[in-house]
């Protein structure tokens, strides 16, 4: 059960999860650190700390997770779990991501009516959200280092990233336009630069 399928066994050059339990526990701890979203925590824990993925692998997996239906972080956890242990790994990562947070959010729903108006609670949530905004920005900055290995010249990458930021953050364009329009353009440019 712990032997990965042959086509997945090509990641011996960096650390990997030891077992299904390791995957489950890692994803549970990771999920519990994500307030207002877990994606940036995945980058922090999986790439910077545990090194189960390189920055390039993270970006590649995330591009797929984003294009496919379903919550991005759920898709990403499936792919990370599946990379090392096939279907059981995907399910272990998914269960880790969802099980404990699900119980917590239901408890919160029950408590909510009583504490929603408490200014301490509201303030604490606001403070944590500010930290999370910083966390997500930092994940973007860290990954920008991976652009140096792109087949595209660096100034092109920066121009594409800046355009994407302006479209999504400032002009509030629908995500699908940016993914398929700007993303498509970027993929075509990359395709032309790659040797067949």
């Amino acid at each position: 059960m712990n032997a990965p399928p042959p086509d997945l066994a090509d990641h011996s050059d960096h650390p990997r999860p030891r077992s299904l339990t390791d995957l489950f526990v890692s994803f549970t701890l990771l999920a519990l650190q994500g307030f207002g979203g877990v994606l940036a925590v995945v980058q922090r824990e999986m790439v910077d700390r545990k090194r189960w993925l390189t920055q390039e692998e993270f970006i590649e997996d995330w591009a797929v997770a984003q294009i496919m239906p379903g919550p991005n972080v759920v898709n990403l956890s499936l792919m990370i779990g599946g990379r090392y242990f096939g279907v059981p790994g995907a399910l272990a990562a998914l269960a880790g991501l969802l099980a404990v947070p699900l119980v917590l959010v239901l408890v919160l729903a029950v408590l909510h009516a009583r504490f929603a108006d408490n200014t301490f609670v509201a303030g604490a949530l606001r403070g944590m959200a500010a930290v999370c905004a910083g966390l997500i920005g930092a994940a973007g900055l860290r990954l920008a280092g991976a652009l140096k290995k792109s087949p595209l010249p660096l100034p092109w990458c920066v121009a594409l990233s800046a355009t994407g930021f302006i479209l999504v953050a400032l002009l509030k364009c629908p995500l699908a336009w940016v993914l398929f329009g700007l993303g498509g353009l970027s993929c075509i440019l990359t395709y032309r630069r790659l040797k067949a």
Binding site: Q33, F35, G37, G70, L102, G127, V178, L179
Partner: protein, 195 residues
């Protein structure tokens, strides 16, 4: 939470709910939240299984709690079940909505990822994965910006919140400090009313 609605749900209604979330799952490119307007139409306007307030609370609570935001779907199932009268029904509601929203997208993504991994040397697959990198980075920076604006609002009026976001971003970018320390610091500063 008191139930402002009193429903009687037959098996056909549960099945209807389940099938609806199965189809929503297939459409949820960009995350389950992108289908929330359709959930609103179905749950609040068409069937009156949730009140407007319960709908809003489900999304806000899931954002405030740790864990993936998709758990707002579980909260909707929970509230529909509570409206139907019992905690047992509420747990069943969680099961129906979560299995519905997760199963199709999970199966498709897993199959696509395996296909992409097996064919990772194809020029088109490499172009897709490497070509998307600038966009992925743009989306992360955009999310950070949008999140900071939604908590902080106007930069001048709420500069301590923005400063907290920028400082924690720099600390995380440059160090390996554990996130929980920063989250705890943010929570304390927020609870004390400093930011």
């Amino acid at each position: 939470m008191t139930a402002p609605l009193h429903l009687t749900l037959a098996w056909a209604d549960w099945l209807n709910l389940f099938v609806h979330f199965l189809t929503l799952s297939l459409m949820s490119v960009g995350g389950a939240i992108s289908t929330s307007s359709e959930m609103h139409r179905f749950l609040v306007e068409q069937h009156h299984w949730l009140t407007q307030e319960q709908f809003n609370q489900s999304i806000a609570l899931a954002q405030a709690a740790p864990g993936p935001n998709v758990l707002f779907v579980a909260l909707m199932g929970w509230q529909v079940g509570m409206n139907a009268g019992s905690t047992g029904a509420a747990l069943f509601g969680v099961l129906v909505t979560m299995v519905g929203i997760m199963t199709p997208s999970t199966v498709i993504t897993y199959a696509a990822a395996r296909w992409g991994h097996r064919n990772r040397d194809l020029r088109a697959v490499r172009a897709f994965k490497q070509g998307m990198a600038p966009i992925v980075i743009a989306l992360l920076l955009s999310t950070a910006w949008i999140m900071a604006s939604s908590v902080g609002g106007d930069v001048l009026a709420h500069w301590p919140l923005w400063l907290t976001a920028v400082v924690s971003g720099l600390v995380i970018w440059r160090t390996r400090i554990h996130l929980l320390w920063l989250l705890a610091a943010g929570a304390v500063l927020g609870a004390l009313g400093v930011i």
